[in-house]
Structure formats: structure tokens, C-alpha cells
């Protein structure tokens, strides 16, 4: 009995241990780590399956009914056995839990100095906005077919995505045209993150192999869901710099656009950029700072905090400042304007 499964196992294990059995080639360090957990799970699953189902089949043949009056053993329980088969799975589960946690932690924390790219999802397309104002959208290929937007990134450098969901047409007042959930999934990087309307979500990755990778939308978003794809092209750093500076670059960087809005929308009247206190808190060194919130609690000044402060200023009022003074800019600033202001505040170190 024990012989055959062992042979089978020894045949299967090397294949499985190749780590990415059934998985697309791993393109990031994280993906490699995910594949190690995956390989471990695959092997332990296979062994458990062989024990359980092998055992089941073996018993079925060994103890096949011989006569209508067969007597059977009266075995009600066995504490040792029951302990063993509860405790061993428990240990394995705790082990993979901890392992999975460690990798997940790395997935959630982008390294300092990552290249930041804004990603916009809408029914049913992706759009990428770089800090220098360069925008990448989908287009048409030579055959007139839709060519997905291609985000170009440098090989071996961390890239952080700041993602938002948008309406189909930016200024639309059609109540049916509302931003919905999407999810940004890069199979080769083993990573995905939902894009949630009304807030920014972030994810990061670092592609270590040059090449082109697929991005799929994995949150059902309507009939165009499966057509909602994008490409990521990882190229050597020098090529990336050249591409970033080349044609299609916006007239100004996001931060410059933000600075212009800062003056034109009269933010400057209430917020200084040099540290002096006017009506509201200064923007200087605001980015990343921790704020005491009126009524208790703390908040870090990040993308979501600034966005909320602009669109819904009274949701969180910075302690020591008057509530109800800052007007809401919802409806007056476009999604892209808000991003520009965020990028501007980021630059005020």
C-alpha cells in the first residue's frame, strides 16, 4: 500500500517543487516568495490528499462487504489519533499563516523612493498619469483594434501605484455614470488591489525581468469587464527615462499644475507654502505629518487625507483650527486637479 503512493509522490514532487507549477513566470521578488508558499502548500496538500483519499480507497478495497452478515469492529474513538490529526494540521496552518503574513506585510509597504504613478480605472479602461504630466491611455493598433494602455516602468525599481476609480466621462452629471469598483491585477507579480470609488488605494511592485506583462481587472464591473486590460512594459532605466521625457508629455508636471491651482483657487489665502500660519495649517512639511484631529484621534497627511480635506473639509478638522471655514471644493476641482494639488503638497518638504 505505502509503496505506490511513494513512487507517485517522488515523481510529482520535483515537478511541484519547481515552485511555479501552473503559475505564470514570476517577475518580481515578491512573486518568487509567493510561489514558495504556493509550492509548500501544493506539496502538503498532495501529501494530505494521498493520506486521506489513498487511505479511503485502500480501506474501501480492503474492507469490502463480503456477506450480508459481516461483523465490524466497534471503535468509537481514539484520543491519541484524534489529537494527532487535529494538532498536525493546526501546526501546518499556523506555519503558512505566519509565512503568508510576512509576505503580505511586504506587499503592503512600498519601499522609500518608489516611482509613483497615478492609475485611473473607469468602465472599461485604464489610464496612467506620471508625475511629469505624461499620460498614457488606450489607443488603436494598426488593425484598428483597441490597444490597451501600456504603462512603462523601469526594471529593478520599485513602482507605487496610487489608484482611483472615475466616471466614464469626467464631467458627466448623469447619475448612472458613477465610478464603480475595479481591481488591478498583475499575474506575473502575484499582486492585486481593488480600486475603490471615493478614495485612493495603493499598491507597489518591482519588476526584475524586462518584458511585457498583463494587467487584468478582477472586480466585476459590467459587460466590458473582461476587455478591461492594460499592459506593463518593464524596460531598462535609461530607456525608461528617455521614454518618460519623450513625446506625449503634458505641458506641466503635476506639481506645477498643483501650484497653479493653489494660487488660482485661492488656497494660498488660507494655507501658506513657507511655514507661516494663516487661516489654515501651512502646507510646508505637511506631507506625511501626523495631525491631531478635533474631537480626538490622529491622522497622517497622505493622499486620502488631503483628498478628503479638499472635498469634505469638515470630515476631519485639524485640531487648533476653526471648523467650517474651509469651503468644500467638490464640483469645482476635477479628480485630476485634486491629484495635482496632492503632488504639489508632496513637494513642499
Amino acid at each position: 500500500m505505502s509503496f505506490k503512493p511513494l513512487v507517485l509522490l517522488s515523481l510529482l514532487l520535483p515537478g511541484v517543487a519547481g515552485a511555479s507549477t501552473f503559475m505564470p513566470p514570476a517577475a518580481t521578488v515578491t512573486a518568487g516568495e509567493v510561489d514558495s508558499v504556493y509550492a509548500f502548500l501544493l506539496i502538503t496538500s498532495l501529501i494530505s490528499f494521498i493520506i486521506l483519499i489513498g487511505g479511503m480507497i485502500f480501506f474501501v478495497f480492503k474492507y469490502k462487504r463480503k456477506s450480508a452478515t459481516d461483523k465490524t469492529a466497534y471503535i468509537t474513538h481514539d484520543h491519541t489519533l484524534e489529537f494527532v490529526w487535529s494538532f498536525i494540521p493546526f501546526l501546518i496552518f499556523m506555519f503558512v499563516f505566519a509565512w503568508g503574513w510576512k509576505i503580505y506585510h511586504d506587499m503592503r509597504h512600498s519601499p522609500e523612493g518608489a516611482l509613483e504613478v497615478h492609475v485611473m480605472a473607469k468602465k472599461w479602461d485604464w489610464r496612467f498619469l506620471y508625475k511629469n504630466g505624461k499620460e498614457v491611455t488606450s489607443g488603436l493598433d494598426d488593425k484598428g483594434q483597441k490597444a490597451p494602455a501600456t504603462m512603462v516602468v523601469p526594471v529593478g525599481k520599485p513602482v507605487k501605484l496610487i489608484m482611483a476609480s472615475e466616471k466614464i466621462s469626467a464631467g458627466s452629471t448623469d447619475p448612472m455614470d458613477r465610478p464603480v469598483l475595479h481591481s488591478f491585477f498583475i499575474p506575473a507579480a502575484r499582486i492585486k488591489q481593488d480600486v475603490v470609488p471615493g478614495r485612493y488605494t495603493t499598491m507597489w511592485f518591482q519588476l526584475d525581468q524586462p518584458g511585457d506583462y498583463w494587467v487584468f481587472c478582477t472586480e466585476f464591473c459590467g459587460s466590458g469587464h473582461s476587455a478591461m486590460k492594460a499592459r506593463i512594459s518593464a524596460v531598462p532605466v535609461a530607456d525608461f527615462e528617455k521614454w518618460l521625457a519623450a513625446e506625449g508629455t503634458g505641458e506641466m508636471t503635476l506639481a506645477d499644475k498643483g501650484r497653479a491651482l493653489y494660487s488660482s483657487k485661492a488656497c494660498a489665502g488660507c494655507h501658506s507654502a513657507d511655514g507661516t500660519r494663516v487661516v489654515g495649517p501651512t502646507f510646508k512639511s505637511a506631507w506625511g505629518a501626523s495631525r491631531d484631529i478635533e474631537g480626538g484621534g490622529k491622522a497622517t497627511v497622505d493622499e486620502n487625507y488631503v483628498r478628503e480635506s479638499i472635498l469634505n473639509p469638515n470630515a476631519k478638522v485639524a485640531a487648533g483650527y476653526p471648523a467650517g471655514v474651509m469651503p468644500t471644493f467638490a464640483g469645482q476641482l476635477s479628480d485630476d486637479d485634486v491629484k495635482a494639488l496632492i503632488e504639489f503638497i508632496k513637494t513642499l518638504k
Binding site: 487535529s86 509565512w99 503580505y104 466585476f220
Partner: protein, 531 residues
């Protein structure tokens, strides 16, 4: 035992009263069970047709037999019908209704009128939900995620209200089972002697009673948002779309156990009878059901690892989900140990039980891939998840429904199904199932997202295999249906205990008399006394 004496032999619950009206107003739990059987079977047919349409569309890249808009609807109705109208009521309301009272030696459930009402709730709920088809159909997927589902569309409103009403069916059944189990047990039937099927139904009932109201509230909020434009979930109105997911999964994760716990119960009955052996680890199996029911309320966030919920929440949910794995593993080992030194009869019900173990083991271990947070980030919302929950829900629940039907058929109707044909149905379903869903694990690993109308050309090969498998499953169920109809009309007379079972239902006549037993049984031993 000789409770069925000669002159009572012809009086049973089927001929106790006559005519359609007597069925529509019946308070007999057995008849209500059969009403559920017929309705659930019809819904299964509907859901199954939607399933085959999905697979046919996915046979080739690009548009095959329908448009993307139609596909979104077919997929939604497949999921909603199968979950809310087939798998949730399937075992408890049909097999449970019929056998829970008999297995504990009761004359009926505690509240027969509520029991009948529950059936009408299901019908009404289903009616309302399916009305949505006349409003263009809902295209949200069975999970109704906001804000996509906020479209002020009558179709979504109908679906939500339908699910709301059908939920009462589930609550009432659960309530009935809890009270019946506590109050109506025959003399001597202590809680340590109730069959494991009853334990499973009891644990399920607790979830039904506690979790279903949350679903009710959630879909009502969704309906209110659709009708009145109140911003619960729409960020444009100050709502939170992710809150919907919390609400939805707070019910729908425990609901997964509403779907699978009763199946565990059926399997314990099948394995003991067909191995003619007492169950290994009665207490462990009984209490592991309760443990699963309890923990199931605290794991909903494992559906939301990439939703933007905090890292801390993700870790806690991953941890708790792992804990559910332990009682599940315990059950599998117990069933296997029960086979040891048994006397195993490979009749069709047993084949279904063994098939269940095979498929459920695969469903179970792949659950660990999804509970492990790092791998879940990759697998989430891909075909890997689709394959996983079909291995659990279909491989688990449907296999055990089929096994349970063939097992209890002689008791319900006093006739036997043709075992050979029942086994043929098993072979088709079992083989077809693996052909359909195993490739989906691979597709998911390769990165194919779920709810995809179209896919990359490199995924076509595996999709084709999967589609062919689904036709095999279809054939299997047709063979099963014919076997059942043939058994009803022409089946051999069975006698009270054709399989040599030890639980109480086998001591009464087949079909059982109106109030189950001619004299109330007195219980002196546990349920599986094969000595």
C-alpha cells in the same frame, strides 16, 4: 422493528390525504420536505441551464453564443439561483425537513405552520427575484457589490427583495429545527444520541437564525438605496462601498456553512450505514460542526484581503480562517477512520459519499491556499476561487444531496431506485465534475479572472476541457433524474430497512405513516450501534 403492523401497511403520509389542495395546505413535515424537493429540483434545473450556457459561451475566445450583456445576466442568475434557491434550502429544507423529526423520534417539527409558511416564503421570494427578468435582468453577479449594483434598476430591486423574502424561509426552517431538536426528542434520545445528521442541521439552524437577518438588512439597504437614493454604500452620497462587502460577507460567509454543514451530516449517515460500522469520533464530529458554526461568524473578511481593508484586519481574518480548517480536517479523518475494519457496500449512495470525500478534500486544501493571505492576493477573484467553491459547494453539497436522495429514497417512497443506473449517474457527475473544475484551478493560477466573458487565446484550451466536463455533469444529472422517476414509478418495493441502517427512520414503515411512528419509540442506545 415491527411498528408497521399488517393492517396499517397501506396507510402512509402519501395517501393519508388526497388531492393537490391537501399538499398545498399540508402541515406534515414529510410532505413539506417533498414540496421543497420539487421546488429545489426545478430551481436546480434552471440554475443548471444557466451553468451550461456559461460554459458554452466560454467554449471559445470571443463571443460564442451570447453578448457580454447577456453573459453578465446568465452568470448572475446562475449564482443567485444556485446559492439562494438550491444549495441553501437544498439539504435542510428538503432532506432535513423530512428526516430530522423522524431521526429524533418526533411526530413532526415544533411549528408545522411556520414550516409550511417557510415554503411559501421561498416560493414568493423566488417569484419576486425572477420577476427581475422582465425588467431586463440583474447583471451584478450574485454578490451585488456596490456601487455597481446601485443603478436604480427595478431588476436589482426585485432581486434584493426576492432574496430578502426567501431569507425568511431559511430563518423559519432554522428556528423550527432548533426548537424541534431541543423539545421533541423521543424518550431516551439524549443529545449524545441524536444522529450526526441532526447535529449538523442543528448547527446549521443556529447560523440560519443568527446570520440570515443580517443578509435581510443588507439587501433591504441595497433596495432602499436603489429606490430612494439614500447613500449607504454610494461614495457620491457619502456612503461606503466597502461597507456593503462587510455586511454581505458577514452573512454570506456563514452561509457557506449553511450550505456545507448539512452535507457533512448526510455523509456521516451514509458512511456509517454503508460501512455498517459505528462512527469514529461521534463527539468530535458533533462538536466540530458547532465549532465551525461559531468561528464562521468571524472570518468574513477573508473575502476582502484586497478590498482596501487594513493590513491588521487582513491578518486577523487570515488567522481565524485557518482555525476553521482544523475542525474540517478532523471530520475528514473521522470518516476515513470509520471505514477502517468496516463492511463496505459500494451502492450508489456510498459512491456519492466517497465522491464527496474526494472532492471535498480538494475543496478543503485549496481553501488553505486562499486563507493564506499571500497566495490569496494572487488567487482572489480568479478562476482558482471559482474552482475552489465549486469543489466545496457542488463537489460537497450536491454530491451529498444526491447520495442522500438515493439513500433515503426507499424510506420516502417505499421503493428502491435502480442502483446500477444511480451509479452510472455518479460516474458521469464525478468524472464530469473533475474535468470541469480541475482545469479552472490551473486557469486561475495562470491569472484568468472570474466573471470573464472573454479571455486571452492561451486560456482557450483549458476552457474547452472545462466546458466538455460540464456537459458530462449535465448528462449525469439527467441520468440521475431518470433513475429517480423510474424508481418512483417502477422501483422495486423496499421494505422498512433496505440498507441495514440503525437510526430511527429505519425502524418505521416505508413510506412512514402520517405521524411517523405508530408508537413513540423509546431510545436506549446511540445512533450507530453496529455491534
Amino acid at each position: 422493528m415491527a411498528t408497521a403492523t399488517a393492517h396499517h401497511e397501506n396507510s402512509n403520509y402519501l395517501n393519508h390525504e388526497k388531492g393537490l389542495w391537501s399538499w398545498l395546505t399540508t402541515l406534515d413535515h414529510k410532505r413539506i420536505g417533498l414540496l421543497y424537493f420539487i421546488t429545489v429540483a426545478l430551481f436546480f434545473l434552471v440554475g443548471g441551464i444557466f451553468a451550461l450556457l456559461i460554459r458554452t459561451e466560454l467554449y471559445s475566445v470571443g463571443e460564442t453564443i451570447m453578448t457580454a450583456e447577456q453573459y453578465a445576466r446568465v452568470m448572475t442568475y446562475h449564482g443567485a439561483v444556485m446559492v439562494f434557491l438550491v444549495i441553501i434550502p437544498g439539504i435542510p429544507a428538503f432532506l432535513g425537513n423530512f428526516f430530522l423529526p423522524i431521526q429524533i423520534g418526533a411526530k413532526d417539527v415544533a411549528f408545522p405552520r411556520l414550516n409550511l409558511l417557510s415554503w411559501y416564503c421561498l416560493l414568493l421570494g423566488a417569484g419576486i427575484a425572477l420577476t427581475s427578468l422582465f425588467f431586463g435582468g440583474a447583471d451584478t453577479g450574485w454578490t451585488f457589490y456596490t456601487p455597481y449594483s446601485i443603478k436604480h434598476s427595478p431588476a436589482v430591486i426585485c432581486m434584493a427583495l426576492g432574496v430578502f423574502v426567501a431569507g425568511f424561509s431559511s430563518i423559519l426552517t432554522g428556528l423550527n429545527f432548533v426548537v424541534t431538536t431541543h423539545k421533541l426528542r423521543a424518550p431516551g434520545m439524549t443529545m449524545n444520541r441524536i444522529p450526526l445528521f441532526v447535529w449538523a442541521l442543528y448547527s446549521t439552524a443556529i447560523i440560519q437564525v443568527l446570520a440570515t437577518p443580517v443578509l435581510g438588512i443588507t439587501v433591504l439597504l441595497l433596495a432602499a438605496e436603489n429606490i430612494f437614493g439614500i447613500g449607504f454604500f454610494d461614495p457620491a452620497l457619502g456612503g461606503d462601498p466597502v461597507l456593503f462587502q462587510h455586511f454581505f460577507w458577514f452573512y454570506s460567509h456563514p452561509a457557506v456553512y449553511i450550505m456545507i454543514l448539512p452535507a457533512f451530516g448526510v455523509i456521516s449517515e451514509l458512511i456509517t450505514t454503508f460501512a455498517r460500522k459505528t462512527i469514529f469520533g461521534y463527539t468530535a464530529i458533533a462538536y466540530s460542526s458547532l465549532a465551525i458554526a461559531a468561528v464562521s461568524f468571524f472570518v468574513w473578511g477573508h473575502h476582502m484581503f484586497v478590498s482596501g481593508q487594513s493590513e491588521f484586519a487582513g491578518i486577523v481574518f487570515s488567522f481565524l480562517t485557518m482555525l476553521v480548517g482544523v475542525p474540517t480536517a478532523i471530520k475528514l479523518f473521522n470518516w476515513m477512520a470509520t471505514l477502517y475494519k468496516g463492511s463496505i457496500n459500494l451502492s450508489a449512495p456510498m459512491l456519492y459519499a466517497l465522491g464527496f470525500m474526494f472532492l471535498f478534500t480538494i475543496g478543503g486544501v485549496t481553501g488553505i491556499f486562499l486563507a493564506t493571505i499571500a497566495t490569496d492576493v494572487h488567487f482572489h477573484d480568479t478562476y482558482f476561487v471559482v474552482a475552489h467553491f465549486h469543489y466545496v459547494m457542488v463537489g460537497g453539497t450536491l454530491m451529498s444531496i444526491m447520495g442522500g436522495i438515493f439513500y433515503w429514497f426507499p424510506k420516502m417512497f417505499g421503493r428502491l431506485c435502480n442502483d446500477a443506473w444511480a451509479r452510472v449517474s455518479f460516474v458521469f457527475i464525478f468524472v464530469g465534475f473533475n474535468v470541469t473544475f480541475f482545469p479552472q484551478f490551473v486557469l486561475g493560477s495562470l491569472g484568468m479572472p472570474r466573471r470573464y466573458f472573454d479571455y486571452l487565446p492561451e486560456f482557450q484550451h483549458l476552457n474547452r476541457i472545462s466546458t466538455i466536463g460540464s456537459y458530462l455533469i449535465g448528462i449525469g444529472f439527467i441520468v440521475g433524474l431518470i433513475t429517480i422517476i423510474h424508481g418512483l414509478l417502477k422501483g422495486e418495493k423496499s421494505g422498512p430497512n433496505p440498507w441495514g441502517g440503525k437510526t430511527l427512520e429505519w425502524t418505521t414503515a416505508s413510506p412512514p405513516p402520517h405521524e411517523n411512528f405508530l408508537t413513540t419509540p423509546v431510545v436506549t442506545a446511540g445512533p450507530y450501534e453496529y455491534r
